[in-house]
C-alpha cells in the first residue's frame, strides 16, 4: 500500500484519506464499523476550552445534493478530550489532527498549547470559521490580518504543525491563504461549509433552529475544487482538500486540483464505510490512471 503514502508536516499518512472534523466525532462510533487504523488520519470534532452544548435542534436539514448543519461546536471541552477521547484513540495506529476552535485568540492559544502535547495529536487544524467576539463578531477566517495574527499566536505555542481551515465564505480565498502562510501555517485545510439556509415549506421559517447552517456535501464540490485549485497556485504549503467528497474519483479530483490529502465529511453519514471503501479502491484507480504513486496526481490539473 506504500503507493498511497503521503508525508506532510507532522503527518506520516498511510494513505491520503481522513474523515473531516465534525463528521466522525472522536472516532468511537465509526470504530464499531471498521478498524480506524486503516485511515490516513482522523480529524476530530472541534475542541474548545470549555465544554459546549451547541445550538438548539433541529441542527441539520437536507438540501439538493447537500445538507446544512448548525451543530454549534458541541464538544465535551478540552479537559475531557485530553483525558478521555485522545487516550482512547491511542489504541489505533493513526495520527490525529485536532480541530481547534474558540471565540477569542486566547481560547485558540489555550486549546492549541495543551492539545498539541497529546502523544497522538500530530497536527492541529485551526477552525477559523468562528466569529471573533473581540472584533465585533467578524469571522476570524474572513479577514487576512485577523487570520494571520491568530496563526502567529497559535504557532508560538503549538508543539505540532498547524494547519489552518479556510472558510469559503469570502470574496478572495487566495488572500486569506497567503496571509495564514505568512503567519506561519504549515498547511491549509479547505473548505469549511458555505453558509446557507432552508425554509420550512409550510411556515416559511428556517428549518434549522439557528437560522443559517453550513452547507456541505456533493453540492459544494465545484466550489471547493475551484478554491483548492486557486490556492494551490498561490501558496507553497500543502493543502488537505475537502468539500463534497463521496467516492474515489472525487479524491482524484481534489488531488489533481492540488490537494496533498483529502478529507471526507458528510459522505460518512450516507455511506458509513466510505473512507474505508475509498482506501480499498484507490490502488485500482491509480492503475487505471497509469500512475505508480498517488503523489503524481497532486496538482496535475496545473501541468
Amino acid at each position: 500500500m506504500s503507493k498511497l503514502s503521503i508525508q506532510l508536516p507532522g503527518l506520516d499518512l498511510k494513505n491520503p484519506i481522513m474523515p473531516a472534523s465534525g463528521c466522525f466525532g472522536f472516532g468511537r462510533e465509526y470504530a464499531q464499523l471498521y478498524d480506524l487504523s486503516k485511515l490516513g488520519a482522523i480529524m476530530i470534532k472541534a475542541t474548545t476550552v470549555e465544554k459546549r452544548l451547541g445550538n438548539p435542534t433541529p441542527r441539520v436539514a437536507e438540501t439538493p445534493a447537500g445538507m446544512l448543519n448548525a451543530i454549534g461546536l458541541q464538544n465535551p471541552g478540552l479537559d475531557k478530550v485530553m483525558s478521555e477521547e485522545l487516550p482512547w484513540l491511542e489504541r489505533f495506529d493513526v495520527p490525529i489532527i485536532a480541530n481547534v476552535a474558540g471565540t477569542l485568540t486566547e481560547d485558540y492559544v489555550e486549546v492549541a498549547r495543551r492539545i498539541s502535547t497529546a502523544p497522538n495529536v500530530k497536527a492541529l487544524e485551526l477552525n477559523i470559521s468562528c466569529p471573533n467576539v473581540k472584533h465585533g463578531g467578524i469571522t476570524f477566517g474572513t479577514d487576512p490580518v485577523i487570520a494571520r495574527e491568530l496563526v502567529e499566536a497559535v504557532k508560538a505555542v503549538s508543539k505540532v504543525p498547524v494547519y489552518v481551515k479556510l472558510s469559503p465564505n469570502v470574496t478572495n480565498i487566495v488572500e486569506i491563504a497567503q496571509a495564514v502562510e505568512i503567519g506561519g501555517a504549515d498547511g491549509i485545510t479547505m473548505i469549511n461549509t458555505l453558509v446557507g439556509m432552508r425554509l420550512d415549506e409550510r411556515t416559511g421559517k428556517p428549518v434549522i433552529a439557528n437560522g443559517t447552517g453550513g452547507l456541505s456535501g456533493p453540492a459544494v464540490k465545484p466550489v471547493a475544487i475551484r478554491m483548492v485549485y486557486e490556492v494551490y497556485k498561490a501558496v507553497e504549503i500543502p493543502i488537505i482538500g475537502m468539500g463534497g467528497v463521496t467516492n474515489t474519483q472525487d479524491v482524484i479530483d481534489f488531488m489533481s486540483a492540488g490537494a496533498s490529502a483529502v478529507a471526507v465529511g458528510t459522505a460518512n453519514f450516507v455511506d458509513h464505510f466510505v473512507c474505508s471503501n475509498i482506501i480499498d479502491e484507490l490502488p485500482a484507480k491509480l492503475k487505471e490512471l497509469g500512475v505508480t504513486h498517488i503523489k503524481e496526481i497532486i496538482g496535475r490539473s496545473h501541468r
Partner: protein
C-alpha cells in the same frame, strides 16, 4: 452491532392513505430488538442525500425479515415507496436502544400509547411483551380514519382502542382524552409519538414508570455528529442525550419535554 447491508424488498404495500408497509430481508434482522430503528438510504444517488430513520415494526428472525411502516410524504419516503419486490435497499442498523421488554413484572400489564406514525414500533414490542406473558393495552391516536392501520394485528395481542382527532374512528380527541375515560390499570407504559403526546403522557401518569421513544432530525444516525441531541432534565448527570445512539427510547424523566 450496527451493520450496513443491502437488504432485499420482499413485500411492499400501501396499508392506509400514504402509509406503507415494507418488508426487507437480510442478515441484520438477527440483531434487532423492538424500539430500535434502521437508517435507510432510499436512493443510490446523492439526491436525496441523507438516510431516513425508520422504526422497526415487526421482526421475523426465522425468515430473516423485518417490517417497517412509514408515511410516504417527503422526498425520501416517496422514493422508498416506489421500491418493488426484489429491489435492494441500503440499510444501516439496527440502531439505538429500544424498549426494555423486561422492565415490567411477570404477569404485569403494559400500556402502549402510540400516536400516528409512532405506532409501528409498538407492534414488535407488544408481540414480545405478550410472548413474556404480559398483558398489553393499546391506545392509539391518529389524525383521521384513513391513516389508521394494524387494528387487527394489535387486537389479537390485547385490548386495542383508537382515537382520532376528527372522530372518524373510535373516540374523538387525543389519547389523553381516551385514557381519562378508560382509566386503564397497568404497571408500565411505553409510548412513541409526537412530542405533545409524550409530554401529556408524562404529566398524566406522574407515578408510573414509563418509556418514551423520541424523534429528532439526524445526520449520521450512529452518535458521531451531534445532530440529534435532546436536553436532559435537571435530575440527570449528563447535559444531553443523543436520540440515535443513546435512544431513541428513554425512561421517562430523562429528556426535557
Amino acid at each position: 452491532m450496527i451493520q450496513q447491508e443491502r437488504m432485499i424488498v420482499v413485500r411492499q404495500s400501501e396499508i392506509a392513505h400514504h402509509i406503507f408497509e415494507l418488508t426487507l430481508q437480510g442478515q441484520i434482522v438477527q440483531e434487532m430488538n423492538p424500539g430500535q430503528f434502521v437508517h435507510i438510504r432510499v436512493s443510490d444517488s446523492f439526491e436525496p442525500l441523507l438516510r431516513r430513520p425508520i422504526s422497526i415494526a415487526n421482526i421475523n428472525k426465522e425468515a430473516g425479515e423485518v417490517t417497517v411502516i412509514y408515511r410516504a410524504e417527503g422526498r425520501g419516503t416517496s422514493i422508498l415507496a416506489t421500491k418493488q419486490v426484489g429491489d435492494e435497499v441500503d440499510v444501516l442498523g439496527p440502531i439505538g436502544n429500544g424498549f426494555p421488554v423486561d422492565a415490567i413484572p411477570e404477569k404485569g400489564t403494559a400500556l402502549l400509547v402510540g400516536g400516528g406514525i409512532g405506532v409501528p414500533p409498538l407492534y414488535e414490542l407488544s408481540k414480545q411483551l405478550n410472548a413474556r406473558g404480559i398483558r398489553t393495552i393499546h391506545v392509539f391516536g391518529f389524525a383521521t380514519e384513513n391513516v389508521t392501520f394494524y387494528e387487527d394485528q394489535f387486537s389479537t395481542l390485547g385490548d386495542t382502542h383508537f382515537v382520532t382527532v376528527d372522530g372518524t374512528k373510535g373516540t374523538k380527541g387525543f389519547v389523553t382524552d381516551l385514557l381519562e375515560e378508560l382509566k386503564p390499570e397497568f404497571d408500565v407504559f411505553y409510548s412513541c409519538g409526537p412530542l405533545p403526546m409524550l409530554r401529556a403522557l408524562e404529566n398524566f401518569y406522574p407515578d408510573k414508570p414509563g418509556y418514551l421513544s423520541f424523534e429528532e432530525r439526524m445526520g449520521c444516525g450512529i452518535g458521531a455528529c451531534f445532530a440529534c441531541i435532546c436536553k436532559t432534565t435537571e435530575q440527570q448527570e449528563k447535559d444531553y442525550v443523543k436520540v440515535c445512539s443513546d435512544g431513541p427510547v428513554f425512561p421517562k424523566g430523562v429528556v426535557q419535554l
